[in-house]
């Protein structure tokens, strides 16, 4: 018994040391982060590192947003609010943010969130600040309606974030392959030729026959495109699953399968090395490309410069990607954080960011500027890419994705890839996807 007592005593002693160490380091950490603390009773002067009244806000973001110089400017102009800008790679940032949000500690005051990730956070509305409570109603008018709708909850009463950039989509095509197939290469003529997806498949068959090359990079990309054009998808605004009653989804599925099975897919995985080699060498004829894809193509497929051209997508426009700036609910200074992001993505600054990075802005007012109207690209055979993407952006229709969008969409896309790459039976793959979705949503 006494031995036990000794063990217990030593353990307790150690624990108390450890606890003391933890708590003191926590205090030290907070002070180091510059959180202003209430002055002590005696009215002591604050330490020079944390001047009294200065609010420091942490802004966690992905890299290459073009915000750096603007934040420096803001910090210089505002003595009372200082922004601590932290950049990480895309995945690292989003994983770290999700972890912090789930754990409820280390959450930044302002967070950059991509649309795909934001959808998953929407069910956890309490974790975010409703920007409508801090004056966002006055500024949402300058942004595209559908972009604001993406950041709202189902009934539009809660705004999760203010928009940064968008990914309006157009159809890039290889002029050399079209020429070889005896097709027109001028964007207007191509638009006139490919007016809907049936026409697209028809043209694809001609291309395959004449050149032996597939029309698109993969059936999966086409499924993304088809579903991206729908205005009602897998869920209603009440998060009710309407997948099986929504005939348009099955139609998109069947059309993707047709592309897979008639040899119109190059069977290349997005972001794979072969994918960019394919863009470079011209192993497929068209690519459904959002505005930001231009940077990717010029970087990863430089030899194809002048061989691509770009036209509007058939049927409707679509959006792939784009992001928002959110203010998590745990911040102590929601008003200051909101004021900062309102400033950061206002028309003037969005214009600066666009000029620096080429990230397509969410503000239609900017589309009239010469930088967009006269923006041509040598890579795309001198096409007026600015005009084309601005027009595409204005045509996009809002759609309610639902918090489980990614679960459903991934299962369907797996089914299509399974048919496209592994030669599975389309009906069996569809049924398997339905089972998977039911299992994963239970």
């Amino acid at each position: 018994m006494k031995r036990f007592g000794l063990i217990l005593m030593s353990l307790m002693l150690l624990f108390s040391f450890a606890l003391a160490a933890c708590s003191s380091s926590e205090e030290g950490g907070e002070a180091g982060e510059g959180t202003p603390e209430a002055p002590a009773d005696g009215g002591e002067e604050a330490t020079p590192e944390t001047p009294e009244g200065v609010i420091e806000l942490t802004f966690a973001s992905i890299a290459n947003t073009g915000f750096g110089p603007l934040i420096e400017k803001y910090n210089a102009e505002n003595e009372n609010v200082q922004i601590n800008f932290q950049e990480q790679s895309f995945d690292d940032h989003h994983n770290a943010f999700a972890t912090a949000l789930a754990a409820g500690s280390g959450v930044p005051d302002i967070a950059f969130v991509e649309i795909g990730r934001l959808e998953g956070f929407k069910a956890s509305q309490d974790s975010f600040t409703n920007l409508y409570d801090f004056g966002a109603k006055d500024v949402t008018g300058i942004y595209l309606d559908w972009k604001i709708a993406q950041a709202e909850n189902a009934d539009g009463s809660f705004l999760f974030g203010l928009p940064t950039d968008i990914g309006p989509m157009a159809m890039a095509y290889r002029t050399d392959i079209f020429e070889e197939a005896g097709l027109p290469t001028d964007p207007n003529e191509v638009s006139a030729l490919i007016t809907d997806w049936d026409k697209y498949i028809e043209v694809g068959k001609t291309v395959l026959e004449k050149t032996g090359k597939p029309m698109s990079d993969s059936a999966g990309t086409m499924f993304d495109t088809f579903t991206g054009q729908l205005t009602e998808l897998y869920f209603t605004a009440d998060d009710e699953l309407i997948l099986e009653s929504n005939a348009a989804v099955k139609e998109a599925y069947d059309r993707s399968i047709e592309i897979a099975q008639s040899g119109l897919s190059a069977k290349l995985g997005q972001w794979s090395g072969e994918w960019s080699t394919g863009m470079n060498e011209g192993t497929f004829a068209t690519l459904m490309a959002p505005a930001w894809m231009m940077n990717y193509m010029t970087g990863s497929a430089p030899d194809a410069s002048g061989k691509w051209n770009i036209a509007q997508m058939p049927v409707a426009s679509g959006n792939w990607g784009g992001s928002f700036l959110t203010v998590p609910a745990s911040t102590e200074y929601p008003q200051e954080a909101y004021d900062f992001i309102e400033w950061l993505v206002n028309e003037e600054n969005s214009y600066e960011v666009f000029k620096e990075t080429g990230n397509f802005p969410s503000i239609p007012g900017i589309y009239e500027k010469p930088e967009i109207q006269d923006w041509t690209s040598e890579y795309f055979s001198g096409a007026y890419v600015g005009k084309i993407y601005a027009e595409a952006a204005l045509r996009i229709q809002p759609v309610w994705l639902g918090t489980d969008y990614a679960t459903v969409h991934n299962a369907l896309k797996d089914a299509i890839n399974n048919v496209d790459l592994n030669g599975a039976d389309p009906e069996a793959a569809w049924n398997e996807a339905m089972d998977t979705i039911k299992r994963e949503l239970r």
Binding site: F121, G273, E274, D414, N418, N422, A424, E440, R442
Partner: protein, 310 residues
């Protein structure tokens, strides 16, 4: 802390303040860092994982709901993906381990021969792959195995063969190659250390009796190395059952469109930290995995001790 006379007589060495009690206290203090760290970073997460697995718990999806053992019931009775991941894991372990250990043993035996020159260089060269970054290795192997421009297809003359997608077992074989490239050297070094302990006289006697090198390998080296082989086997079970990075980097978090290279570990990761953030179900997968690995390790131990004895 006062002590009664009675106990003082019984155990005088623990008298408070005595040298013996100080020694005992310092002993416990010396070992306590491990136990403290283990409690905080080992024991607590294990128990908390058990607790989490009893809930329908998805991050960012409202409050967790207690559902008892429902996650386990679903996992074992109504989840073909999990069954598939178990089959994949065992298939890849089986394909990888036997050639890996056998080749390592042969290489170690050859490198241990007196006629081999530059032994140190070979030893270092064979161990080199082990110090490389797993992710980098997988990316490079992914390129080598690529369908249209891959070096392996070029050398074998199998243009257009899709190693990842054409056939489930073929994709397992490709992963196996990545694993073995890295682990053969590791096992070789362990076997070489083991070979040093075998008495030279046994080989000399065998040579005088006219036994060939191959006979020496099978009748002296393998039986003498039994404990070392057992060690590497158990290590390979725990490593192979936790196969994760290679399929993740090569085929994505879902283990391919058909889940063809989805392993148990990858399935757990993708469930808990993929788009669903279903940590309740993920925790249950973790526990079932734990039980599977323990059972398999025991089975392995029984079989291999029997086999090697005979």
């Amino acid at each position: 802390m006062s002590m009664g006379n009675k106990s003082e007589n019984k155990k005088p060495r623990f008298k408070y303040g005595s040298q013996a009690s100080k020694d005992a206290l310092s002993g416990y203090l010396y070992v306590s860092p491990f136990f403290l760290l283990f409690t905080v970073f080992g024991l607590f997460p294990i128990l908390f994982n058990m607790y989490v697995s009893l809930f329908s718990w998805r991050l960012f999806k409202g409050e967790p709901e207690f559902i008892g053992f429902q996650n386990y019931v679903w996992l074992l009775t109504d989840d073909p993906t999990f069954i598939k991941s178990i089959v994949n894991t065992f298939s890849m372990w089986f394909m990888a381990t036997l050639p890996q250990l056998f080749l390592a043993l042969v290489i170690a035996f050859v490198l241990n021969q007196a006629f081999v020159k530059f032994k140190d260089m070979f030893r270092m060269a064979i161990f080199m792959p082990f110090v490389t970054s797993l992710v980098a290795v997988t990316i490079i192997f992914g390129n080598l195995f690529s369908r249209d421009y891959g070096l392996i297809n070029f050398i074998l003359g199998t243009q257009g063969l899709d190693w990842l997608n054409d056939n489930r077992w073929l994709s397992h074989f490709a992963i196996t190659l990545m694993v073995n490239w890295r682990w053969i050297g590791y096992n070789t070094i362990i076997y070489m250390a083991g070979l040093q302990t075998i008495s030279k006289e046994l080989y000399e006697a065998a040579t005088i009796d006219g036994a060939s090198k191959v006979q020496q390998f099978f009748y002296i080296t393998i039986p003498q190395l039994r404990p070392i082989i057992l060690f590497t086997l158990i290590m390979s079970v725990s490593g192979g059952m936790q196969l994760f990075v290679e399929p993740l980097v090569w085929a994505g978090a879902g283990g391919g469109a058909d889940n063809q290279v989805l392993t148990m570990f990858l399935y757990m990761y993708n469930t808990a930290f993929g788009v669903q953030y279903n940590i309740g179900y993920g925790a249950a997968i973790g526990w079932v995995m734990f039980i599977i690995i323990i059972l398999f390790a025991i089975l392995n131990w029984i079989i291999s001790t029997k086999l090697i004895k005979d």
